[in-house]
Symmetry: none
Subunit: 228 residues, 2 copies
C-alpha cells in the first residue's frame, strides 16, 4: 500500500541509509545516482514519490525537478528535496522550484519518514496506512478489511483499491482514465470500459449494506464518491 519511492542520491552511503529506512517502513524503493538514471527509471514506472539530492553529478537536482514538473505524466509526482545547504535563501529557492518539501542534511531516519508521510498524506492519501471512514463504512489498509457498521464486506483486490482510492478522494469526479492511472497504475494498458465493470463489482459488494449509493455516475465525465 505504501508505494514506490525513488531515491536520487549519488553518495552510496546516504542512499543506502535512506533505502533501508524506507524499506523498514514498508516502502518499495528505486535508486538512481544521476539525473539520467532517474529519468530512465521514472520513464519505466512512475514512482509515488521522489527524494532528490540537490547536488548531483552533471545536471543538478533542481534541473531534474524542472523536468519532472514540465512533463504532464510526471508533473503531479510529489518530490522531496535533500539539501546540505541550510541557508534561508536556498530553502525558499528549493521550495519555489517545485519541491513539495525539503530536508536538510544531516537528517534522522525518523524525520525522513515523518516528512514522507506528511507529503503523501497531502498528495496521495491512498498510499498511507490510515483507516478511512465515512458514515460507518470503513476501509483499513493495514488489516486489508472493509466493514460496514462493523460487519465485513468481501470484494476482490481491485475493488478494494478502487474503494480505498475513492474514500481518500471523495466529492470529486474522476474520469476512467484517471481512475486507471491512479488505481491500476500508469503504464497499464486496459480498456476504459473495464472501469465500468469494476465499478459494477464494487457496487455489488456494497449493495447489501446500502453504501453503493455513494458510488455515483457522472454522465459524460466519470465517477465520484460522495459522502451524502
Amino acid at each position: 500500500m505504501t508505494g514506490t519511492i525513488l531515491i536520487v542520491e549519488d553518495e552510496p552511503a546516504i542512499a543506502e541509509l535512506i533505502d533501508v529506512t524506507l524499506k523498514r517502513n514498508g516502502h518499495h524503493t528505486l535508486r538512481a545516482s544521476s539525473v539520467e538514471e532517474a529519468i530512465h527509471l521514472i520513464d519505466r514506472a512512475l514512482p509515488n514519490l521522489a527524494l532528490i539530492d540537490w547536488m548531483l553529478p552533471g545536471a543538478s537536482g533542481i534541473d531534474l525537478i524542472k523536468r519532472i514538473r514540465s512533463n504532464k505524466r510526471t508533473q503531479s509526482m510529489p518530490v522531496i528535496m535533500l539539501t546540505a545547504k541550510a541557508g534561508e535563501d536556498d530553502k525558499l529557492l528549493g521550495l519555489y522550484k517545485g519541491a513539495d518539501d525539503y530536508i536538510t542534511k544531516p537528517f534522522s531516519p525518523r524525520e525522513l519518514v515523518a516528512r514522507i508521510k506528511a507529503v503523501l498524506r497531502r498528495r496521495a492519501p491512498q498510499l498511507t496506512d490510515d483507516i478511512v471512514e465515512t458514515n460507518g463504512l470503513q476501509v483499513d489498509p493495514v488489516t486489508h478489511r472493509v466493514t460496514a457498521n462493523g460487519d465485513a464486506l468481501r470484494m476482490g483486490p481491485s475493488e478494494f483499491r478502487l474503494l480505498h482510492f475513492f474514500m481518500t478522494h471523495t466529492e470529486r469526479v474522476y474520469t476512467r482514465t484517471q481512475l486507471l492511472d491512479q488505481v491500476w497504475g500508469d503504464h497499464v494498458f486496459v480498456e476504459e470500459r473495464t472501469v465500468d465493470v469494476h465499478i459494477r463489482r464494487l457496487r455489488q459488494a456494497l449493495e447489501k449494506s446500502g453504501y453503493d449509493e455513494h458510488i455515483q455516475t457522472v454522465r459524460g465525465a466519470g465517477y465520484r464518491f460522495s459522502k451524502s
Copy 2:
C-alpha cells in the same frame, strides 16, 4: 526464544556483571571488548540485540552503531547504548544516532533487564518470553508449547515460529516476503510459495481445535491472523 545479546564493553568487570545478569535471565550472550571484535561477531551470527558502550578503545560506540545501521543485514538489530554521560544533550544525541534506548551508568541489573525487555517487546515481540494467548489458544515460547484450551497441539518448529509471530502481530496483513523476513530470518533465500506450504501445515495443526480459522488468506496481499 530469548535470543542472543551482544555485549560490547571494554571494562571487564562491567562486562562480566552484565553477562551474568543476562544469562541468569535466560539470554545467550556474546562478548566483545572492541568495535572490531564486535563487527567480527556480528558478522558470524546476527545477535537479537546489542548493548554497546559509548566509550570504547579505538572507534567509539557511536561509530559502531553507524556501521550497524548502514548495513542492510544489521540495520534492524535493536541497540541499547551504555553511557556514563548523563547530560541531556548526549542522551538526545545518542538516540538520534540510531540507538533504540540508552542506559546511564551506573545501572542496576534489574534496570538493564527491564530495558532489554522493553526494547525487544517493541522491536521484536516474537523474541520475548511472554506467553501469548488469544481466545484460549496459547503459545509459550519458554516451554515451546502450544495449547488449545488446555490440550497440547503438535507442530514443527517453523510452524511454531510462524504461529508465534502471528500471535504477536495480529490483525495485520503480511506479505509472503515480510513473513519470510520476520519468521525465517533475513538473508535466507527461499521461495515465496514456501510460506503457503507452512501456512497449510500450521492450519492442519490447528484444524482439530478450530483455531485454523484465525489464519486468514488475504488474496492479492498475503496472510493475516485475526482474533475474531
